[in-house]
Amino acid sequence: MTDIDTTAPSEVELLPPPEGGEVASSGSPWVLVARTFAQNKLALVGLAFVLLVILFSFIGPIIYKTDQINPNLIAVNLGPGGGHPLGTDSSGFDILGRLMKGGQSSIEVGIAVGIVSTVAGLIYGAIAGYFGGALDGVLMRLVDVGLAIPIVFLFIFMAQIYKPSLGLLIFLLTLVSWLIPARLVRGETLALRTREYVQAVQVMGGRSWRIITRHIIPNTIGVIMVTVTFQIANAILTLAVLQYLGFGLPPTTPTWGSMLSDGTTYLQDGYWWEVYPALIMIVITVVAFNFIGDALQDAFDVRLQER
């Protein structure tokens, strides 16, 4: 255990002790969230990065035009320089331009999967955890079944039947991603429903749905926010891994993951520019989302907000 200063007050206590007298108006809860968020430097950096990446991927190709469809056999595997700031890949495509195009797919997939899967898992898990009993049993068994089937298997199966497309991948990634938020939320809900304020509302005759939406879910926001960002990050990463395993989209739809996995084939040959730029983009984007999620978690924690 690291050494803990046992004399200084805990750093968690950000609030000054309440003084008697007037109570200041604290504004709407969302303003508090935004303010706390804005105080977190890392969050702002993260937000900035995400915006930059989005601009890079969607606006970039308008400014920096490259041909990402037709291979250029005489310009393969060129290092950075001379018209190609980041070099070219094994088909002669300009890597900087490909990063932009790849970013579009990767980000679309990441955000779509991250949000949809979390929302689905949230509702599912809250219901299961709150009602408990047989309903919880059945719902969680379905989650278990889903978790037990390896992702790889599902993807192989789907890839053999359907033409792999971005849409299909989004659908499949969502299908496997909602399970973990469901489980986490259910765990939290199990703990929360025994809290005094929930019991108080129940005593007062509050309806289950209201309890779930007004009391349980808001108190799991911390976990949810972290989960969403991890889900987005996971989706981008899982897409990369899937392409490494060979479940790929045709080369006309590049993603950072496919650039990375194709590039690693040639890593040993010293073509580092085919590997690291895509890797860095993935890492930056995923890290940025994590910073944001982390800061959101802090911002939503009522006890930490400054009133």
Binding site: I74, S90, K163, F247, T252, T265, Y266
Partner: protein, 653 residues
């Protein structure tokens, strides 16, 4: 047999062989020996032999001979041996099993491929040159003296044993099986005395074809295997009523041996598999695929084995192969098969103490288009098979394949251009390839365009080419129809992806739309099967599993399995009377005309393009760049058909 890229070696390979005598010969290590050249100098134009030490002359090592030593050989990624009984069926028909295990333990009747020539080597074979009689239908083979390790002499009765078991149910037991050919075309066989084997066919075939494609499928089996359970004692002599003498008994023997062979854990201690007549015997086998072979003290052939161990190392990925070679060098990998994406590293790997050997095995790379496909083209919505059936279209498509470009850009000069089923490398004295031109496969947008326009198509570069004159376009093609189809290729191999992407891009330039999809290897292969247009599943248009065909266990490059209608390896259901007749000529024509018949056939294939040809890699397996041989290993020379022949190797100081 069908050649597979990298990990696809196993299993599928077998199917191809079946058709005619081409049982999988398994081309494992094809190391060409040439001088210690650097990696960039591979063959530059069509047909040249590839390079490296050990090509036509054995390697000379680095000093004086040292006896003993362990040779470490890297297996292909995901291709460990999984069968040991030489009568391998479809499931287990692979390079690894045949060339890297069986042939060293259970010596075949004839051995082929030495010193990078795909020809028979009588001086090292059990069988002497066959003598024909009976109007060319009967072959009499005298046997050289060889012994089994249990003391029994390798006799003609052992060959009869093989034939008895094979005849019992070849369609389900033998990878090399093709209806109408071996062993269906064998009328009778016998062993008039222990050192003479006589076999009679149903007609007078070209004796060269018989030697290379039919007799190549015979392995002697020891008497000790002629039983139906381990509790029966091993027969030591022929009392005339051994199980194999009846059809049901032979089938029972097969079942027994097959079951034993599938029990991988029992190989090393089995009383069956320890009876060998080849240069090596199995010391241990680890179920992950690590094989340890040691010299067979009772090996009757020459030369005697000098090394003390051959260890075959299994790998689950290509990166692992590279990493081992890079980090442990010749001490950990004496003979290393290098996947083509590491070709730029060949010279730096060579500097660690290797010679770089680039030898194409007797194989060629292609992918089939389905002439029976009921997929529709757009615009028009008509079945695209009518377009595929036009020879000029296939020619045009072939002209859009930029083999030289691909070899240079995607394969790092580790492949040779291919324009037909008869490889230029390794060169064969049996067929004169010098008159076979590469021009039908030259890369030319202009020629492709011209072919289309002269047959009634209006070519719109980067747009949609449509048929304007249906009478010129061809039967079944309608006015205004376009050309668009799908190419499905093996996933996980960047070079194949790049090649197909380039082909699609070139096709777009003449207004042909190619959609690309990718699937795991086994799906691609399984989809590319012959089918009838009436079948709903006959929707595939082109399937590229990234490799092609390797000759084995039929070693004469005739085309029965590939281009005759109804053959299993004729995935695209190609059918042409002239082709069938030319192929027939190579099988039943006179010996004196064989070389010319083969050349004529090969030229016709290039003109017809029944399949689309692509660059053939110069490594042991499809998609492998080269083989590295430790500087200290002498006596190594490339076997044109991929057999490992450790009896020739020795270490030097």
């Amino acid at each position: 047999m069908q050649r597979f890229k990298r990990s696809t070696l196993a299993i599928i390979g077998v199917a191809l062989v079946v058709l005619f005598a081409a049982a999988c010969g398994s081309s494992s290590s094809s190391n060409s020996s040439s001088s210690n050249s650097s990696s960039s100098s591979s063959s530059s134009s069509a047909g040249l032999a590839t390079s490296g030490p050990g090509l036509t002359q054995p390697t000379t090592g680095s000093g004086s001979k040292v006896s003993g030593g362990t040779v470490y050989f890297t297996e292909g990624s995901d291709a460990p041996p999984n069968y040991i009984f030489p009568m391998y069926n479809f499931q287990v028909c692979s390079t690894t099993n045949a060339n890297q295990l069986m042939n060293m333990l259970y010596y075949p009747l004839y051995t082929y491929g030495e010193n990078y020539r795909p020809t028979v080597d009588y001086s090292h074979s059990i069988g002497q040159a066959p003598v024909t009689s009976n109007g060319g239908k009967t072959f009499t083979i005298h046997l050289n003296p060889y012994k089994w390790s249990d003391g029994e002499t390798v006799s003609a009765r052992d060959l009869v044993f093989w034939m008895n078991v094979m005849k019992a149910s070849p369609a389900t037991e033998w990878c090399g099986y093709a209806p109408g050919y071996f062993p269906d075309n064998v009328v009778s066989y016998s062993a008039p005395n222990p050192s003479t084997f006589v076999i009679t066919f149903n007609k007078a075939y070209d004796p060269e074809w018989v030697l290379y494609s039919e007799l190549s499928q015979i392995f002697p089996m020891p008497m000790a295997w002629d039983r139906t359970s381990l509790s029966q004692p091993a027969p030591t002599s022929d009392n005339g009523s051994l199980p194999d003498t009846t059809k049901s008994g032979a089938a029972a023997v097969y079942k027994f041996l097959d079951t034993q062979s599938k029990d991988l854990g029992s190989w090393a201690t089995s009383p069956l598999w320890s009876v060998v007549d080849g240069p090596m015997k199995l010391q241990s086998f680890n179920t992950d695929g690590r094989v340890v072979l040691v010299p067979n003290a009772d090996w009757s052939g020459t030369p005697k084995v000098s090394i003390s161990q051959l260890v075959e190392l299994p790998y689950t990925s290509e990166a692992a192969i590279y990493n081992t070679v890079k980090s442990s060098g010749p001490a950990g990998a004496t003979i290393a098969n290098i996947p083509s994406q590491y070709a730029p590293q060949l010279s730096s790997l060579g500097a660690e103490g290797y010679q770089v050997n680039k030898a194409a095995s007797y194989s060629f790379n292609y992918f089939p288009v389905n002439l029976n496909s009921n997929a529709t083209t757009s615009p028009g919505g008509e079945p695209v098979r009518y377009v595929f059936r036009q020879t000029y279209f296939r020619n045009a498509l072939q002209h859009l394949v930029d083999q030289q470009g691909w070899i240079h850009a995607f394969l790092y000069n580790t492949a040779v251009p291919t324009c037909g089923p008869i490889p230029f490398s390794p060169p064969s004295p049996l067929v004169d390839t010098s008159s076979i031109s590469f021009s039908p496969c030259s890369f030319s947008d202009a020629t492709a365009q011209q072919l289309l326009t002269s047959h009634g198509w209006k070519v719109v570069p980067n747009g949609t080419t449509t048929c304007q004159n249906p009478s010129l376009c061809g039967a079944g093609i309608k006015q205004g129809e376009g050309i668009s189809f799908n190419i499905d290729y093996q996933s996980g191999v960047v070079a194949v992806q790049d090649e197909m992407n380039d082909l699609a891009s070139n096709a777009k330039k003449v207004g042909i739309t190619i959609n690309l999809t990718t699937h795991p290897f086994s799906t691609v292969v399984a989809t590319g099967a012959p089918c009838m247009p009436s079948a709903a599943s006959c929707k595939w248009t082109a399937e590229n599993w990234g490799a092609g065909w390797i000759y084995g266990p039929s070693y004469l490059p005739t085309g029965e399995p590939l281009y005759n209608p109804g053959s299993a390896a004729n995935a695209g259901s190609y059918s042409d009377a002239q082709m069938t007749s030319l192929i027939g000529q190579t099988i039943t024509g006179p010996l004196s005309g064989e070389s010319a018949a083969l050349t004529t056939y090969a030229k016709y294939v290039s003109q017809q393009d029944p399949v689309i040809f692509g660059p053939t890699s110069v490594g042991t397996y499809g998609g492998y760049a080269a083989t590295l041989i430790s500087n200290k290993l002498a006596g190594y020379s490339a076997n044109a058909l991929g057999f490992l022949q450790p009896q020739y190797w020795y270490f030097t100081k």
